[in-house]
Amino acid sequence: MKDKGKQRRKGPLTREAQITGWLFISPMLLGFTLLLLFPMGLALYMSFTDWPLLGDHKFIGIDNYRHIMSDALFWKVLTNTVYFTVGLVPLNIILALLLALLLSKSLRGIGFFRTAIFVPVMTSLIVWSIVWKYMFATDSGLINQLLMLFNIKGPAWLYDTDLAMPAVIVTSVLKNVGLNMVLFIAALQQVPRSLYEAATLDGAGKTKSFFNVTLPMITPTVFLTVVMTVIGSLKVFGQIFVMTQGGPSNSTKVLVYYIWEKAFKLFQLGYASSLAFVLFFVVLVLTLIQWQLRKRWVFNESDA
């Protein structure tokens, strides 16, 4: 009934609304079709072809995907990507959460700390990576120079197959921890004061009210942030490009770097496309999980 009334009220506008509505979205829709939808379809087709930069391409069915399964470098690269993600995400989330908790207290000078930790987020990833490449430099780097003060001869961080990836992970955590911190601070501010008061009345200490009030209340934000950070980590590229170029001996070569190399250095465009679709598939699964979780939480919130 209510809907009907609404529609009748809008009745005379409808024709005009149809035209203006589509007109307003048409530039975006056109751009979207040409620059996102069409390339997406073409990429899918390309992933089933042998497509060199020059000359004819030929359809080869699922050969590229079959090749991926037996490509030793692909598995190495996938392992590296997972290593990067598993190393980065917990470190990033835990540090961001800790900082958010500390910075949501009302202390003198909180603004300074908040700014200091957020500044790397504002810095270009490439600049940040160049500076940290310098920090990790073997002879002139600040880290090894400081170690020298304690008479420790620092390692060649970025040229050591065991240390290069951890160095890149640390660089990346420091770059982005401020972003997640700000998201967590925003989530913490949403927790109603009354819940803490109730917990205190029930005799809960600080630790207890953290685990029983704070954590459950910000769990949705934490989970969504984790998923976004995981997706971001799976696409890591810039810092690898600047700091290690995938080396030493492929120890930091990650999926996107491999895609870039295959596509734009070796120009195996078909194979690179199939690799890109592996990435797409992983991101798709993660995004669907995220949507599912989001739906459940929204439901729970309106339920309560």
Binding site: P39, A116, I117, S124, D139
Partner: protein, 284 residues
């Protein structure tokens, strides 16, 4: 008595702990910048001196002028700035127009189109980059700025913009529009003269986000640009890094120049930046 004394003690210990942790982490964040600044003024041979000097014994300002002789740094800057401006302008205009339509104009198929747009946001950029490279080659747009301007406006960045603006327009009371419509305003005027001015906070957020994302964009310039003079800052600097090896004094003066203006803008508009990030929520 004792309990409160204990409580006070624990509280002050907690405060000391808090300050210690925050100071250590802040230092780790700030030291690279100070080190960058310090090296940018150092004599080349002083870079390797031990123990490390935070304040150089002599200041070599030529490091800065040298950069312009070694690379077309002013072009990197110019390209980055003008591309970012066009991308921000284009995104804000087209995304707010579409965002308004999705929020307020009841046209057929609106929800399904919106859903399709949203789901495209999860397509990794790397997937479409390969066909896009061929597409741009067909058009003869390789080694031009056109892909760097058009792709972000109409790609995932634009879709994100539509989403942000739609969320914003939805919160604006309908009565305003209805009154204007009775007065005979058409939708273009309603959008331009009533809705846009109200949506300023949303536009500011979108501007900041688009600017920062675009300023840092690296993958697209890397695949589309070959000529030195046409490069943007991130690309130009990353190639410079490969070339200079351990000439850190030159590299650091270049990174200082690339970083400082943006940081000044950030310090001036800090609140908006941080609130904007918290508001638009999750984006890598």
């Amino acid at each position: 008595m004792k309990a409160t004394h204990n409580g006070a003690l624990r509280r002050s210990l907690g405060t000391v702990g808090t300050y210690t942790i925050l100071s250590v982490i802040s230092l780790i964040m700030i030291i690279p910048f100070l080190w960058m600044l310090s090296t940018s003024f150092k004599e080349p041979q002083k870079i390797f001196t031990y123990p490390p000097q935070l304040i150089p014994s002599t200041f070599r300002f030529e490091n800065y002028t040298d950069v312009f002789k070694l690379i077309p740094f002013e072009w990197f800057y110019f390209n980055s700035v003008y591309i970012a401006f066009l991308v921000v302008g284009g995104t804000v205009f087209f995304a707010s127009l579409a965002g308004y339509a999705f929020a307020r104009i009841p046209f057929a198929g609106r929800n399904i189109v919106f859903l399709i747009l949203l789901s495209a946001m999860m397509i990794p950029h790397e997937v479409t980059a390969i066909p896009m490279f061929l597409f741009m080659r067909e058009l003869g747009w390789i080694d031009t700025h056109l892909p760097l301007i058009l792709l972000p406006i109409f790609g995932a960045g634009g879709v994100f913009g539509i989403f942000v603006m739609r969320q914003f327009f939805i919160t604006i009371p309908k009565e305003l529009e209805e009154a204007a419509m009775i007065d005979g305003c058409n939708r273009f005027r309603i959008y331009g003269q009533i809705m846009l001015p109200i949506a300023k906070p949303g536009l500011a957020t979108l501007t900041i986000f688009t600017f920062v994302t675009n300023w840092n964009e690296f993958f697209d310039p890397l695949i589309f640009i070959n000529t030195r003079k046409l490069m943007t800052l991130p690309l130009g600097l990353s190639l410079f890094t490969d070339e200079v090896g351990t000439a850190w004094h030159h590299l650091m003066s270049a990174t200082v120049m690339a970083t400082v203006p943006l940081l000044i803008i950030f310090f001036l508009a800090q609140r908006q930046f941080i609130e904007g990030v918290a508001m638009t929520g999750l984006k890598e």
